[in-house]
Subunit: 164 residues, 2 copies
DNA sequence: CTTAGAACGTTGCACGGACACCTAAACAGC
DNA sequence: GCTGTTTAGGTGTCCGTGCAACGTTCTAAG
């Protein structure tokens, strides 16, 4: 952080209005790295063990938890942090593999449901232990239970309401 | 988490060996969402204000902090969580824009340094306030100082050593 | 009823990144 | 010295994603 410090943009103690302390900056960077690290590990494991990218796993999960195993495309896009176009292609792939199906919406002819098929549900069931084990070993095991509760409280403050 | 619960993979209280409590799972998901949210915000702001993608900003920062403003390609790739090929193209772009230069390594003819140019340093200086402001408003402001210290301690436990 | 506008999903395009493979250089052992 | 192995970096190719534009359908104003 030498250069930043040189310009007075980071400081040791008093964090100015725009400046950050070195600790604050370090926390942010560590968070970034940790997130990337865990995500990659998860993605790799899911891929080799079940041929399922993380994004696909997320979609299947969202559908499984939705009433009637179905969700409108737009709705789903918001939940998996994906643009609508991105979701379109992803659903294309999942449909090709028979894990989800598209169904028209009765009340709105514009709308489409993405529906989890039985094969999709089976695949999800098969992959979930891998996913959970990954989260546990890469993340939860490294924190105490008290810390987890604390993180939860902190995260609850962030406005993670909806996607842009 | 209905489906997961149905399969006994998540529980209310006692977290089994592979199973997770709903709270643990929720924490992980919130963390994911928060990280994506913040990252996108940052990327968008840097892009519109300074035409600088987040990855490029990271590279410039790493170079600025490195001794002599230079780093070996391989070394740099590890620090910015990028594959070597990915870094090659990114440096290509940055070089095209005159923000970094490539320099041969005297002691090892295979090696190349990525060197921050004056233009690159200027661009970084110009963009950094935006970056820091983003971290502050999207992240730090929503946490107390005590919490930041706590997060730091937690993150310190994670083995974020090196990239695969 | 007609029409302007918004909302839903898809498509063309370009970009950024990873993987596998390649060349050149350094190093190991004999 | 010569040869096999390892390391540094770059290239060919493919995949996934976002943005902008498009067609279709719903909704509201007149």
């Amino acid at each position: 952080m030498t250069l930043l410090r040189d310009e007075g943009l980071t400081t040791d103690r008093p964090a100015g209005p725009a400046g950050l302390t070195d600790e604050e900056l370090a926390v942010w960077r560590m968070l970034q790295r940790a997130q990337v690290h865990i995500t990659r590990h998860l993605e790799a494991e899911l891929l080799v063990a079940h041929g399922l990218p993380l994004a696909s796993y997320d979609v299947l999960t969202q559908l499984a938890e939705a009433p009637d195993r179905r969700l409108r495309m737009n709705d789903l896009a918001g939940r998996v942090l994906l643009s609508r176009s991105g979701l379109t292609r992803l659903i294309d792939r999942l449909q090709r593999d028979g894990l989800v199906a598209r169904e028209a919406c009765a009340s709105d002819a514009r709308g489409l449901f993405a529906v989890l098929t039985d094969r999709g549900a089976a695949r999800l069931t098969e992959a979930t232990p891998t996913y959970l084990r990954g989260i546990r070993s890469e993340f939860l095991d490294l924190l105490g239970p008290g810390e987890i509760r604390l993180v939860r409280e902190m995260l609850a403050k962030l406005p993670i309401t909806a996607a842009p």
